[in-house]
Amino acid sequence: MKVEWLLRLYPRAWRGRYEDEFRALLEQHHVTVVTFLDVLLGALDAHLFPQLEAGRILNMTARIRTAVIMVLWGWVGFYPAGHHVYSLMFSSPFMAATQMNPATAIAYTFVVVGVMVSFLAVAAGGIPVAWSALASAIKGRRIGILILAALPILLMLAAWEVTAWLVRILPLVGRGQATLPEIGPIRLTAAGILGLLWTGGALAGTFAITLVTVKSSIGERIFRWTLNCAVAATLAMVVALGATLLWGLGLRYVPGALRSLNVSEANLVAAWTRVVVQMGLFAGLSVWGVVRGLREGSRHAA
């Protein structure tokens, strides 16, 4: 079994430093399927936790960068769930039920503030990184980076376009151009398509941003600023998560609050649980990233 070709998957800096001796070792080693998997995992590890850059032993910056990317992925998973709760403010029955008790009203305010602050912190941290990456890509005429950087915007525009198109045609279905039994499945299919489209778009877009960040030469000062923003975003996510928990439990125990919503309690509990679990998992990922980043930053400072 040949595994030398897997070396192409390692980062350029790693190959510059280790490729020759690694090849020499592989020529002597009895290669098995385990070796294949091990070399593959080694390539992933070398990208995720780079120990080298530009042939020199570095690199705290790369570790802080990894932490920042973890927070970005955490926020991308957290935000849709948080926004779902946030958007309930536009539903009057929910707002009325929330205002029935001061504790739920305050908890809800914290959800809104947490979600908004997390968004602003991610934007504040992301803009300098994007600016620096684009500037170095234009200067170095790196077309691949520019295409990758444009991908999230193109995907979002495509998703908006498809969403707008579906919204345009669905009311026609409701106005008698299809029989009533068809409307339910059609709306369900449309919702499924939109869900897949936005989820796939968000994943692909975030992956593109990750690649741009990893492949660009961005200074340590910018990543330190971004790490501060990532800390702020993570704190905001944790606050929003705690407030969502309190808000949901509050609604459950405020007399008459759930009844005033006029929806099935089981469905409501299921939806709330799903949102809380999603927020919890992704806020946890962000906390993990921030802890790693701060530990690395303080070690570097020492």
Partner: protein, 105 residues
Amino acid sequence: MSSGLSDLGRFSDPSILILASLSEGPKHGYAMMQDIQAFAGVSLEPGTLYGALARLERRGWIKSEPAEDRRRPYSLSGEGAAAAREQLLRLERIATVGLGRLRTT
């Protein structure tokens, strides 16, 4: 600088094996794999070996020597030798306590 190996995650065990192997003198990658197989019965795979080597080199615990026909030997630095001694003594204490307890049961 960290003095332990626990923050190396899945590379902490391979790292102690590498440090133990290099305690004898400089070795290149394949020689280390054979030596570790001989004294510990552990078959390190190349990806894991180089993941651990890069981490140890970054910490300054090992240093690379000039390459000989593409094969680059590594040796322990002074700090690496101290760290290896500390880690091996810790393992020795664990083994002594464990074996002692087994004898009394």
